[in-house]
């Protein structure tokens, strides 16, 4: 019961935050010198009447505050509006979200399944050569910029011909059998996943190792060992549970990055995700699309934090007590 009250309280708190975020983003976009009609204006075969028609269709002839009001009103009603080319924003997002989710959730799943054990292992084997090699590898992983790594892998794909050059499916995808489709997608996913995996694995492994080392150094672990408990019990029952707490907060952030975290890699690999869509929208000042994506980002961040906090309440009795 307590927890439900807490959640409701948190949700109510987000409302002013969202309003503020939307106001700031809307005004920044509209005050930027990007003119959505610039290309039309410079096309010799487009008449001034057409430009005017477009202006009023996009609502650009009204003052900013009215434009914002219109946008906000339809947003509350759950209508994200139309893009500058007249397609429904919700439809456009719906096309791309599954692709991005597929990529990011695969990466998050892999990094956590590999990163956490590696972190624990290198903390337990602190200062052994295993730990050192892992440290070097993760340092490299953290140091490589994702776009650069992505470009390198693309060149690798071109030279060897082992992997497709970007995209998510082959042109003959529709004619493939179920398993053919499955492997085709997998084949396309290998390179982008490798990039994102290498980069986020490094961070996660370091984080886990650090937490674990902190905990292993604490008094209650020394006490547990002194008590004569087996090493496995000490590590998995006592140390791990405490070391995992900060990771849960991290998980919240990972959740926020589900939809926006891979934009750069997506762009380099021509992955049909949200990244490309939103980049183009920003360039063309396609206000409804940009606003939708910004609001989505904000909501995901808030939601991610909320989930992390709730998980913490569940896992950590100390926080539960403080409530």
């Amino acid at each position: 019961m307590e927890i439900i009250k807490y959640i409701i309280k948190r949700i109510i708190q987000t409302i002013p935050l969202l309003i503020l975020v939307s106001l700031i983003s809307f005004f920044i976009i509209r005050l930027s010198p990007v003119d959505p009609l610039a290309e039309l204006k410079l096309n010799p075969s487009v008449s001034p009447e057409t430009v005017e028609k477009e202006r009023s269709r996009l609502g650009l002839d009204k003052p900013i505050i009215v434009q914002y009001g219109k946008w906000a009103f339809s947003f509350i009603k759950g209508d994200l509006g139309v893009t500058s080319t007249g397609e429904r924003v919700s439809q456009k997002l719906k096309e791309r979200i599954p692709n991005t989710l597929l990529l990011t959730s695969l990466v998050i799943f892999l990094t956590w399944i590999v990163g956490i054990p590696l972190g624990i292992l290198s903390a337990v084997k602190w200062k052994t050569s295993f730990d050192r090699i892992l440290t070097i590898l993760t340092s490299i992983g953290m140091a490589i910029p994702s776009f650069f790594f992505a470009v390198l892998l693309l060149l690798f794909a071109v030279k060897t011909g082992w992997f497709p050059i970007g995209g998510l499916t082959s042109p003959n995808y529709q004619e493939l059998s179920f398993w053919g489709k499955f492997f085709d997608m997998l084949h396309h996913l290998v390179l982008p996943v490798t990039v994102l995996f290498t980069i986020s694995l490094a961070g996660l492994q370091r984080q886990m190792r650090g937490n674990m080392l902190d905990v292993l150094d604490s008094d209650y672990i020394k006490f547990a060992r002194a008590k004569g408990l087996g090493e496995n019990v000490v590590i998995f029952k006592h140390a791990l549970r405490n070391a995992l707490n900060p990771m849960i907060t991290l998980l919240g952030f990972e959740f926020a990055g589900l939809l926006s975290g891979a934009a750069l890699t997506e762009y380099v690999f021509q992955y049909p995700g949200l990244g490309r869509l939103i980049l183009e929208a920003v360039m063309k000042s396609d206000i409804n699309l940009v606003m939708a994506s910004l609001m989505m980002g904000a909501v995901m961040l808030i939601l991610g934090n909320l989930i992390a906090d709730i998980l913490l309440i569940i896992t950590d009795p100390r926080i539960r007590g403080a409530q």
Binding site: V34, D35, K41, L155
Partner: protein
């Protein structure tokens, strides 16, 4: 210790070997740097399809070689793909390109000479009164769903879609002649009459506008303009779309590809009487940027690419031992120019352009001095890698209206100095001053991010600094620049490009008419009308008005020759160069007849894939099949 040193040395050597290997592979060898390497100067042996009636059905018969059926042709489009499949609402290039594949017009442009060539129409008769056109449709034409294409479809398309202002209204806008629209009438099931209010030359080519299937478009048109804008959006089920072109839509995957398949009801046949097109599928990969496109071509995922100048030398050296062939499609039809602001008017008591600068810009000698100071050949060599040609006229080099009497000239700094001197400019300590003692200094703009124009800007700045001018070169964001050019007018000099048509100069009327909306070099607000018109601007107005009303090519050419001459002499816009378009295509594709006017895929229905086991590319290709 020693072991460690040896190990260290070993690693260093290994690293050097690896790095060296990488470097060597990527450096183009100098011998292969050929200037302007590709010349397809030999006569193109292409013959356009002819009308052929078999069993009462009026086919179009291809005159090219008979090929094999089957296979797919993978092309690419840069950007985010089509926004709509509605041919009457496409506002961007990709969308109109896609619509162009699916919908045929009554006629098309002959890729060899730019004259009209029949498509859906069997023939078009221009009446002696120069305003009436009789169009006879082919007998036995069918939409992709099997329904017949009749005069009703044509009348519906023109009267209920285009003239009713549905979707994109640019076609209608360009056909308003003295406030009136042409009249379109059905005579019988296969005959339509078009009457323009006055003789209007560009009208004939406007008949290449796609024709819509009435039975499919009528419900959407009835629901009004707003619904029509979203009709045939990219979410439409492909199998629902009724088309008349050689291909119909099969699949659209957002941000990945557009797949077209053969339209079995297409009206073109080959010499054996088999129905074209040869290809089963055309696939457009949607790629985000040009670099990815190049990678995809090199990775053999796409079959056709248009090359940047910087890549041509490398591809040329690769060509002999690879599976592609390069073609020269001739000069680009867009033009790149430098312009000065001739505006001498005020807004709210304030001049748009500083009065001191106004004096320079309005001085013809000043403009001529700039013109002969810039080194076009050097720009072609250094910026376009030699793949281009200097440009001196507002019509592009492949335009059928190009005035060939206007001679090119070289950079001549001495002449520039003479021009400046005769207008009272003088040099002091290497700095140029006007006769009132003002230092000549102005801003040169272009849109940031366009590396080609930025490079031109740098070279122009250097050339003009040789004359003692101080040029502040400022690449600014595209939208801000457009705003300066068409709304606030607060600029001095600019480097920009314009798209154009090699077939119809009338499209440039917005630029050249003194009250045109893109009359950038001396822009007037709508309220100002034709205020302060210069004598040569008046002449330009006359040339464009008369040129459009004349219907005979030879007579029109006279007016458009004169307009080019005026611009050549008055230099409101100083043209720089036009890049040459070089494309690469896999050599398994046959019946390739590239022309400057039609590009490479103008005869897409005739292109076929050679089934030859010895073609080099059989062993390649992707694994997951």
């Amino acid at each position: 210790m020693i072991r460690q040193v040896i190990r260290g040395i070993f690693w260093v050597i290994l690293l050097i070997i690896v790095l060296k290997g990488c470097l060597r592979a990527d450096l183009p060898s100098v011998d292969n740097q050929v200037k302007n390497p590709i010349n397809n100067s030999k006569e193109i042996s292409y013959e356009i399809p002819i009308n052929k009636t078999i069993n009462g059905i009026d086919y179009l018969q291809s005159q090219s070689d008979i090929g094999n059926f089957g296979g797919e042709f993978v092309m690419s489009t840069i950007g985010e793909g089509p926004k709509t499949f509605n041919p009457f609402n496409s506002k961007d290039n990709t969308s109109s390109q896609m619509a162009g594949i699916m919908y045929d017009g009554l006629l098309a442009t002959n890729p060899l000479n730019g004259q009209p060539m029949p498509k859906l129409a069997k023939f078009i008769q221009s009446m002696p009164d120069k305003t009436t056109y009789i169009v006879k449709l082919r007998n036995g034409l069918k939409w992709s769903d099997g329904k017949p294409i009749t005069a009703d479809d044509v009348v519906f398309t023109w009267n209920d879609i285009i003239f009713a202002g549905m979707g994109d209204t640019s076609t209608r806008d360009s056909l308003v002649i003295e406030g009136k629209l042409p009249i379109v009438e059905k005579i019988d099931n296969h005959t339509i009459k078009f009457v323009t209010p006055k003789p209007y030359a560009p009208f004939l080519m406007m008949l290449s506008t796609p024709i819509a299937p009435k039975h499919y478009f009528l419900p959407a048109v009835k629901k009004g303009n707003e619904f029509f804008d979203s009709f045939l959006s990219t979410n439409t089920k492909p199998e629902n779309i009724v088309t008349s072109g050689a291909f119909k839509l099969k699949e659209y995957v957002p941000a990945q590809r557009v797949v077209f398949e053969k339209n079995p009801n297409y009206y073109e046949i080959n010499k054996k009487g088999e129905k074209l097109p040869y290809l089963d599928k055309i696939i457009y990969m949607i790629v985000g940027d040009i670099n990815n496109q190049v990678l995809k071509f090199e990775g053999k995922e796409i079959d056709y690419i248009s090359l940047q100048g910087s890549k041509v030398a490398r591809y040329k050296s690769l060509e002999p031992h690879s599976d592609f062939k390069l073609y020269n499609l001739g000069p680009d039809s867009g033009t790149m120019y430098m312009s000065v602001n001739l505006n001498n008017r005020k807004k709210d008591g304030k001049f748009y352009v500083d009065p001191i600068k106004q004096k320079w810009f309005q001085d013809l000698n000043f403009r001529k001095a700039i013109d002969s100071a810039i080194d076009r050949k050097n720009m072609v060599l250094n910026i376009a890698n030699g793949i281009g040609e200097p440009l001196y006229t507002p019509e592009s080099l492949n335009s059928i209206f190009l005035n060939k009497n206007l001679k090119p000239y070289n950079k001549d700094i001495k002449k520039s100095k003479e021009y400046l001197k005769s207008s009272g400019f003088y040099l002091k300590d290497g700095k140029l001053y006007d006769k009132n003692g003002n230092r000549v200094e102005f801003n040169l703009y272009t849109n940031a991010g366009n590396t080609e124009r930025e490079a031109i800007g740098v070279m122009v700045k250097q050339d003009l600094e040789d004359l003692g001018m101080k040029v502040n070169f400022k690449p600014i964001e595209f939208n801000s620049l457009v705003n300066k050019l068409v709304s606030t007018f607060d600029w001095d000099m600019v480097i920009m490009g314009l798209t154009g048509s090699p077939l119809e100069p009338n499209g440039g009327k917005n630029v050249w008419l003194s009250d045109g909306r893109l009359h950038m070099f001396n822009m007037r607000t709508p309220k100002e009308g034709k205020i302060g018109i210069l004598p040569w601007e008046k002449e330009l107005d006359e040339m464009f008005t008369k040129g459009a009303l004349e219907t005979k090519f030879e007579n029109r050419k006279k007016y458009y020759d004169k307009y080019q001459e005026i611009v050549y002499n008055q230099k409101p816009m100083i043209y720089i160069y036009s890049p040459t378009i070089i494309v690469a295509i896999r050599d398994k594709f046959k019946n390739i007849f590239p022309t400057s006017l039609g590009g490479l895929t103008h005869n897409i229905e005739e292109i076929y894939i050679q089934k030859d086991t010895e073609t080099k590319n059989t062993k390649v290709q992707k694994e997951w099949k």
